[in-house]
């Protein structure tokens, strides 16, 4: 039987959506509590790592394809750069905080910082899952990566 025992599989089934939810919570509250883009992205990636550990790579691929993870990674960098460049066009500075500041200690505050954190979170999630796959699945000399 592929993967680990049935106990680990069932608990993984139950936990993986909640891990995703928790990662997004950390990303979205990065400007209010400790955390932010990087830890939230690591949590999101660790959900897929958990699926890979418990079930084997097919289920994890069904949830997030390898090509999709690189697309997500590029998308994160793109969001970050576009936000930075919009600052130049709107007011003249790189990374100008051009959005209204909102209420302090609520979820909509601090201008563009949450949006930047979303970009960072997507980038880190994609990158860490890709790094995990590259380190684990494609051992040097044993298995060549097949062209898609």
């Amino acid at each position: 039987m592929k993967g680990m025992t049935i106990i680990v599989k069932t608990i993984t089934k139950f936990l993986s959506p909640l891990i995703i939810l928790f990662g997004v919570y950390i990303v979205l509250h990065g400007h209010l509590t400790p955390g932010g883009g990087f830890p939230g992205g690591v949590m999101i990636a660790s959900c897929f790592i958990l699926l890979t550990l418990a079930y084997g790579k097919e289920i994890a691929y069904k949830k997030l394809k390898r090509s999709t993870s690189s697309v997500i990674e590029s998308l994160g960098v793109l969001i970050f750069l576009i936000l930075a460049l919009l600052g130049i066009f709107v007011g003249g500075y790189f990374f100008l905080n051009f959005l209204p500041l909102g209420h302090p200690l609520k979820i909509i505050s601090a201008g563009i910082i949450p949006l930047c954190y979303i970009g960072v979170g997507l980038e880190v999630a994609g990158a860490i899952f890709a790094v995990f796959l590259a380190l684990v699945l494609f051992k040097a000399g044993e298995e060549k990566e097949k062209p898609q």
Binding site: M4, T5, I7, V8, I11, F14, L15
Partner: protein
């Protein structure tokens, strides 16, 4: 009312710390992997749950602590099971005074 809650929270934290200490003493004293896994997993899980429940009472009913208790109760026995299963499959024998090993008999 609130004083009762504060005293109760502190009592929960002290009991949880004592259980943690017992679990770690078991981790040091017991003879082989499976016994250590039993003692430490049981005691440390319950002790940490008590500490979290005490903080739930002391911080004005912070419901995140209940969520953390649910996660600890779900994940900790599962991790212990995975480690025990892997240790048995990697060929670690039971303690020499053990009575019976049905799993080893049935695997052959």
């Amino acid at each position: 009312m609130s004083e009762i809650v504060v005293i109760l929270g502190n009592v929960f934290i002290v009991v949880g710390l004592l259980f943690d200490l017992l679990g770690c003493i078991g981790l040091v004293r017991l003879p082989d992997v499976y016994n250590r896994l039993q003692a430490s997993t049981k005691c440390v899980t319950l002790g940490t749950c008590f500490i979290l429940f005490g903080s739930f009472l002391l911080m004005g009913f912070l419901w995140k602590a209940i969520l953390a208790i649910a996660f600890v109760v779900m994940t900790s026995p599962t991790g212990a099971h995975a480690i025990a299963h892997a240790a048995h499959h990697s060929g670690i024998k039971l303690w020499k005074k053990s009575v019976v090993d049905r799993y080893e008999e049935d695997k052959k």
